[in-house]
């Protein structure tokens, strides 16, 4: 319990210290060391509760009552801050304060109701929340380390942006505190309180630069997340007044697993979908790209969207084997398919990453909706691999952007020759995202197997599997295209690039190492974090017992592949072949070097070749529209399905 309170309270104190640090150097030091302390604390948490079943903590009546008050007053405070932030919106955006008031009203109705349920055990630890805490702690630490230097450069490059770094880092820590709260609290109104804090923080961070575009996107993110918040509050109201299942405890709702739990679960599913940026709410995450890169990394990898999928995976036993679950899985599927296709269109590196995040979260949602042991396994591994690889990719893109002054994929031509280490980190991130033998593929493999055994609705499993098969193909295309750009031989001697700052290099290399480690050690992750969780669920009779279906030779072959991926470059480096270099084939018209050819009029012309974006073949607007409509219909069907 001490650890939990440390994880939640310490970042709050750190945030205060950072906000009021007298000098910039002191502030940076605060950021570094507090983030490290959090990472260590999350590791200690993992060690202390290593492979234990879910463990609940009670604080005693006085403290419990106090906690209720804190959550109540805190919730009101957050709502008031949000209302204050709405002071400059136009009349046409009346719905934002309306949504804030609506959700505050709902939550007050629940919390002030006479005889509302009491929460005896407001906090808990199980191996899934440990895994999440590790992700938040360790990845969050690396992002914070990276951000210190990045933000300094950012303000040097963008003098027009008001320097609000103290507040920026304070908010980042507040964000982490809320994330720890979300993954460790068993108290639903408490969960909602932390949930709203992440909404507030993301709003502030997205709008950091203060430009018109940033503010517009920040308000959009706020709106979407408030919609989710309203549904969450509605679920709490339902749980307050429903005689069949009157409880505020998360584990009781999940353990109930019956029809009574399905309605709040469906309502919370909508909240989870908004946070996880699933269609029809995915646009806020695209807009979040205007924020500085560490913010994107934070939102995409370890926090925010992970909170959304966390809650969905948490509720998976309730969805398991129901139509609601299947519909939820289909929403994830539609999102996965549509955004994978749209990502092919994108030239902006950060947008490619954003779409791929949404697609991967879609995959997790599919897993959560199906809710069998195997898909839970896949979902948890996906969350882990995605967090590490995506943080790595975002930070690498951020560094690249500072070096080449562009986010355009086409401008990253030949990065392998210009900044080998940076290119390596990018490549490892991409390989981690889609290629065997790296992590994501193990999960995809399990998904295929698990989807085929879904029998809620005839053909439902086949449908999910087909979506996965068709969505994976464009994924292959857009990643390979990008990697192709990175490895392309530069056409002329590249201009020298500034060095990667040491702190950034540290964060990048650490994340690269983590990506590799996660792939090598995935059986360990399975044994240490996933198996205890699914076993506990199975013991409670919520999901079918886990079956050990991974063949050992499959694992050995995976290891051989991974080793090959590592050893071939080493071998190449040790014994490079000595071949003569010539310029590329240009129909014999090349002029000294591969850069240019002699045109018809005798002049020199440079060769340019761009990637394929298939804009005529796959129309972004149309795909988005179709995805929104399909996901919207599915969502309404899901809510109605739960109500009936």
């Amino acid at each position: 319990m001490l650890l939990i309170s440390f994880l939640i309270v310490f970042p709050l104190l750190a945030a205060l210290a950072i906000a009021f640090a007298p000098t910039a150097d002191l502030r940076s030091a605060f950021v570094r060391w507090s983030a490290l302390a959090l990472a260590i604390a999350s590791v200690v948490l993992a060690v202390a509760y290593f492979r234990t079943g879910p463990e609940f903590f009670s604080l005693g009546d006085t403290w419990n009552g106090l906690l209720d008050q804190v959550f109540l007053l805190g919730g009101i405070a957050v709502a008031l801050v949000l209302l204050y932030l709405c002071r400059r919106i136009s009349v046409r955006q009346w719905y934002i304060p309306a949504l804030i008031l609506l959700q505050m009203g709902l939550i007050l109705v629940a919390e002030l109701a006479p005889g509302h349920p009491e929460v005896a055990r407001p906090f808990y630890v199980d191996s899934f929340s440990i895994l999440m805490a590790l992700i938040v702690g360790v990845v969050g630490w690396l992002i914070a380390v990276y951000a210190v230097r990045y933000m300094r450069d950012y303000h040097a490059q963008h003098p027009e942006v008001r320097d609000r770094q103290p507040a920026f880092f304070a908010i980042v820590f507040l964000f982490c505190a809320a994330m720890f709260g979300i993954v460790l609290t068993n108290h639903l109104p408490g969960l909602f309180f932390f949930w709203e804090i992440t909404t507030l923080c993301s709003f502030w961070l997205i709008g950091y630069s203060g430009t018109a575009e940033a503010m517009r996107n920040a308000y959009r993110a706020l709106t979407m997340n408030l919609i989710g918040g309203v549904f969450f509050a509605a679920a709490i109201v339902w749980l307050t007044f429903n005689p069949e299942l009157q409880t505020w405890e998360l584990d009781v709702v999940i353990a109930n697993g019956g029809a009574a739990a399905l309605i709040p679960a469906a309502l919370i599913a909508v909240a989870g979908l908004t946070k996880a940026a699933q269609m029809p709410f995915h646009t806020w995450l695209l807009g979040a790209m205007v924020a500085p890169t560490p913010v994107s990394a934070l939102l995409h990898s370890s926090t925010m969207v992970k909170a959304g999928v966390f809650i969905l995976v948490k509720f998976a036993p309730v969805y398991h084997g129901t139509e609601v679950g299947l519909l939820l899985a289909l929403i994830g599927g539609v999102t996965f398919l549509a955004t994978s296709l749209i990502a092919v269109n994108q030239r902006n590196a950060k947008l490619v990453l954003a779409y791929s995040t949404i697609a991967n979260l879609g995959l997790v949602v599919m897993c959560a909706g199906v809710g069998t042991t195997a898909t839970l396994w896949a979902a948890m591994l996906l969350i882990l691999f995605h967090a590490v690889a995506k943080a790595l990719l975002f930070l690498s893109v951020g560094t690249t952007e500072h070096l080449v002054h562009s986010r355009d994929i086409e401008d990253m031509d030949g990065l392998v020759y210009r900044r080998p280490v940076l290119a390596m980190t990018l490549m490892v991130g991409m390989l981690g995202m889609f290629l065997a033998p790296f992590g994501m593929l193990i999960s995809k493999y399990t998904c295929f197997q698990a989807f085929l055994t879904v029998d809620v609705f005839p053909g439902g499993g086949i449908l999910l599997m087909a979506i996965l098969a068709f969505g994976s193909a464009p994924t292959l295309f857009f990643w390979t295209k990008w990697m192709g750009k990175l490895v392309a031989m530069p056409r002329r001697t590249p201009e020298p690039m500034p060095e990667v700052p040491r702190e950034q290099a540290f964060a990048l290399l650490a994340l690269t190492g983590l990506t590799y480690l996660a792939c090598v050690l995935y059986p360990f992750v399975d044994w240490a974090f996933i198996l205890p969780y699914t076993q506990a669920l199975a013991d409670a009779g919520l999901v079918p017992p886990p079956s050990d279906s991974t063949h050992w030779e499959t694992f050995i072959l995976m290891s051989v592949m991974l080793a090959g991926m590592f050893l071939l470059p080493v071998l190449f480096w040790l014994r490079p072949p000595h071949y003569a270099t010539v310029s590329g084939y240009l129909s014999g018209a090349n002029v000294a070097g591969s850069a240019s050819y002699r045109g018809a009029m005798g002049g020199e012309r440079e060769v340019t070749a761009r990637g394929y974006y298939l804009t005529a073949f796959l129309d972004e607007q149309r795909l988005t529209r179709q995805g929104l409509i399909a996901a919207g219909i599915l969502m309404i069907a899901m809510l109605m399905g739960a109500a009936l």
Partner: protein, 285 residues
């Protein structure tokens, strides 16, 4: 897994190129006959590759050789997985990795012909990937396992149950074998608008590696085809698989090339109409 399968896997590593080269030789001779030519000797592919080892190798960038090593490595792994009786889906993933490294090798040269070749290759990968994934899934639904050993021990009727999947597979096999009408990224014929596409800037040993990789790939694809008929026994299954394999040569010689857009659309429609539909109606067969 037993000693027998280890033997198969070893045989694949050693004999794979021999069989693959012979298949390529038969292919070229058959093509020649269809065009009423005499055609090259059966061993011509071996002569070609041995010659390439005698030649100097020139590269645009040294790294392209590294990517080609990875291409060959993962191709061999993909085959070893199958011949070990292992996981078909995993083998497919390894094959995909291998294909991606070939694309990277072409991209790394940064010359327009190679680049367009590799872009088209990626489009082709996007086209055939769904159908190729559906094949192991179909086997899983029928046999209950992704293991090649289990598929081979299945019921002889599985090919009837998976007829749609087989048709879809034969369709994308044309792409995988780089045959017309889908040989848009590179082909065995003089390819005038793209020179040699993907392999334009590879020469000597590098090109030999690509050829050997393709031989392995041909054996792997033949093995996939064999799996459909495997339970019938070697005596029936192998001839059927070989005949179907060489039916692709006929397709090659009777078709003009398509554009990539048509290729992608056609392959996806085939995957839906034959592959997915087959899986959907499977419970009723």
């Amino acid at each position: 897994m037993n000693l027998e399968y280890w033997g198969f896997a070893l045989a694949f590593i050693v004999l794979g190129p021999v069989v693959g080269g012979l298949l390529a030789g038969i292919d070229r001779r058959l093509t020649a006959r269809m065009q009423s030519r005499q055609g090259p000797p059966l061993l011509q592919p071996f002569y070609d590759v041995l010659k390439l080892f005698e030649k100097d190798t020139t590269v645009v960038t040294h790294l392209q050789t590294l990517y080609l090593w990875a291409f060959l490595f993962f191709m061999v792994i993909a085959g070893v997985i199958i011949f070990l009786g292992g996981n078909l889906l995993l083998s497919l993933f390894a094959m995909t990795v291998s294909g991606i490294f070939l694309c990277l090798a072409a991209e790394s040269t940064n010359s327009p012909y190679s680049k367009i070749g590799s872009a088209r290759e990626m489009l082709l990968m996007m086209a055939y990937e769904p159908m190729l994934i559906i094949v192991p899934l179909g086997f899983f639904l029928v046999v209950g396992s992704f293991q090649v050993a289990d598929i081979l021990a299945g019921e002889p009727s599985q090919v009837v149950q998976l007829l749609g999947v087989l048709i879809g597979f034969l369709f994308v096999l044309t792409i995988k074998l780089r045959k017309s009408p889908f040989d848009i990224s590179t082909s065995h014929h003089g390819h005038q608008e793209l020179v040699k596409g993907l392999t334009t800037d590879m020469s000597g040993r590098d090109l030999a590696l690509v050829e050997i990789g393709h031989w392995y790939e041909n054996v792997i694809l033949l093995a996939w085809l064999y799996l459909f008929f495997g339970p019938l026994g070697l005596l029936w299954a192998l001839p059927i698989a070989v005949v179907l394999f060489f039916a692709e040569v006929l397709v090659d010689n009777t078709n003009a090339r398509l554009k990539w857009g048509t290729t992608v659309k056609a392959s996806w429609w085939v995957a839906v109409l034959f592959g997915v539909t087959n899986l959907l109606v499977l419970p009723f067969i």
